[in-house]
């Protein structure tokens, strides 16, 4: 099992959700975050105050998947989130020690397999 953490552009979220759905990846957590990934900061002016905005609005996805799903999840995120400009984001794949589905007490692979599907 892996935990896939992806930081993407907010405007790409819809596209990513769409391609994840098509890749049959179900079950994820989305949060709004701010971050800085090397893109050129933009300048804002408010009357006499000029600021450089270093932190960009980003969206973070967290998806727990079983091994057969790792690559297709990554591919789906890349397909939906790549614009080619600096600031498209990153995908981190982390090992997971244990997963528990709270409702049933199922553990590990059974817990990250969508309900109603054969256990991989």
């Amino acid at each position: 099992m892996k935990l896939i953490v992806a930081v993407i552009r907010p405007e790409c979220l819809n596209g990513v959700l769409e391609s994840l759905y098509r890749a049959e990846v179900r079950g994820l957590t989305v949060s709004k975050v701010q971050g800085h990934g090397g893109e050129v900061e933009h300048v804002e002016n408010y009357r006499g105050t000029t600021v450089k905005v270093d932190l960009q609005q980003k969206v973070r996805l967290e998806i727990g998947v079983s091994e057969p799903f790792v690559q297709r999840t990554i591919d789906a995120i890349v397909a939906g989130a790549r614009t080619g400009d600096v600031g498209d984001g990153k995908i981190f794949v982390l090992p997971v020690e244990k997963v528990v589905r709270i409702r049933t007490g199922e553990e590990d692979v059974a817990a990250v397999t969508p309900v109603g599907e054969a256990k991989a």
Partner: protein, 436 residues
């Protein structure tokens, strides 16, 4: 008829009405601003606010003259270019100074141009937009205003347009449809839902529009008299009927009444009664308001399923509402209520006159808008880049955000304002480095 003389009460009312109509443009900014997404709120509001500056100046320099200086059937003269001869002398056939009449009409020119912006929000380059509305107010608005109100051919024909159903709303609505097509759909239109980010703001805008509209319609009497009272009361009654009808259709269709629908209904009712308010009875105003809800409701409902990205439904609300109001004016107008007798009073030809006005206005507006957008597109390009559209036009066009908590913003302590982010990066000292 004796020559009218200056009347202080009339002048005071039109002064107040000018303030009321002036308020409608910022109200429109709130209305439109609430309907777009967070990342485009400033750009959307600035499209209305910017019109106050750009169109206002163009109106003073040339628009007023082309619309209201003595001229021919198709266009006014050049006597008042640069406000020459526009002073405290009375405007002809009124009891108020021409200077005030100019300012009052200027507020109409401004909001008409600003109305168009609803069709092209979230994707048009701001400079191109300003250039377009400045030209549009001269090429499209001023001639049509002259046709109807300035002594032009539609006025001579006997067309009834009390406060601008044709001049303001049909021009804005048809220009909006052309602009939506020519600027093009938003890049994710049809694949992604664009939801309003602040419905309370939209409702606040609708309420302020209603308030300001009392000056728009009531003030168009240009005097304190029975017609002004009738126009103002009709402006209260008609949107009430539209609102009730709209909520009923909403409830019948989905089982619920929506707030965005209610805000839209208020505007539709106001649009529909605008040409009629000084010519119809209060009972007719209720009927016009109620009837207008139907075509507009279904026009807006249908539009959502098409490829036409008239984003904030300017065509559905102002175009459809304007045409409905213009035609119904020909149906309900009565001599006893200040108009000429219409269909119900036995004169069907008034409806045909109204239809001629609608047709001529649509043709002129569509052609003029198409021409101007073609020119503007060739000069500066009308469309924002895909990158700017994705990240929002507030930052790309205005260098500001509507809602920011300042996190990640580093104060730039340069004495001159950096023109671009690259220059700021190279030249500006960073506070965070000192802190680190």
């Amino acid at each position: 008829m004796p020559t009218p003389s200056f009347n202080a009460v009339d002048t005071l009312w039109v002064l107040i009405a000018t303030g009321l109509v002036l308020l409608m443009t910022p109200a429109l900014a709130l209305f439109y601003g609430g309907l777009v997404r967070t990342k485009n709120i400033l750009n959307t509001m600035m499209m209305s606010v910017g019109a106050l500056g750009v169109v206002g100046i163009v109106w003073a320099l040339a628009g007023y003259s082309l619309a209201f200086a003595p001229g021919g059937a198709w266009l006014g003269g050049l006597d008042h270019l640069g406000l020459r001869g526009v002073g405290l002398d009375l405007r002809r056939d009124t009891t108020i100074p021409q200077l005030l009449f100019f300012a009052y009409q200027g507020t109409f020119a401004v909001i008409t141009a600003a109305l168009i912006s609803g069709a092209i929000v979230e994707r048009m380059k701001y400079t191109a937009y300003l250039l377009f509305i400045a030209l549009w107010s001269l090429v499209v608005y001023a001639p049509v205003a002259h046709w109807v109100w300035g002594g032009g051919w539609l006025g001579t024909l006997g067309v009834l347009d009390f406060a601008g159903g044709t001049v303001v709303h049909i021009t804005a609505g048809s220009a909006a449809a052309v602009a939506a097509v020519m600027v093009g759909r938003r890049r994710s239109h049809g694949r992604q839902a664009f939801l309003p980010h602040n419905v309370p703001m939209m409702l606040t805008g609708a309420s302020l529009l209603w308030f300001g509209w009392l000056g728009f319609n009531g003030g168009s009497a240009l005097a304190v008299n029975g017609i002004a009272v009738q126009a103002a009361v009709n402006t209260i009654l008609a949107p009430m009927a539209t609102l009730a009808t709209w909520m009923a259709i909403d409830a019948a269709r989905t089982g619920r009444t929506t707030a965005v629908g209610a805000g839209t209904a208020i505007v539709v009712g106001l649009v529909a009664i605008t040409p009629a308010c000084g010519f119809v009875s209060p009972a007719s105003a209720l009927a016009i308001g109620a009837i207008a809800a139907l075509p507009c409701y279904y026009a807006i409902l249908k539009r959502a399923g098409t490829r036409l990205d008239d984003s904030l439904d300017v065509l559905g609300a102002h175009g459809t509402g304007g045409v409905t109001g213009a035609l119904l004016t020909g149906v309900f107008a009565q001599k006893a209520w200040g108009g000429t007798d219409g269909l119900i009073a036995g004169h069907a030809e008034q409806v045909w006159k109204q239809a001629v006005a609608v047709g001529a206005t649509v043709v002129w507006t569509v052609a003029g808008t198409w021409l101007l957008l073609t020119i503007v597109n060739a000069l500066v390009g009308t469309r924002a880049s895909g990158k700017d559209e994705a990240s929002g036009l507030d930052v790309s066009e205005h260098g500001e955000e509507g809602y920011t908590d300042g996190e990640g913003a580093i104060l730039v302590l340069a004495s001159t304002v950096a023109p671009s982010s690259v220059a700021a990066h190279a030249a500006a000292p960073r506070l965070s480095e000192e802190a680190a």
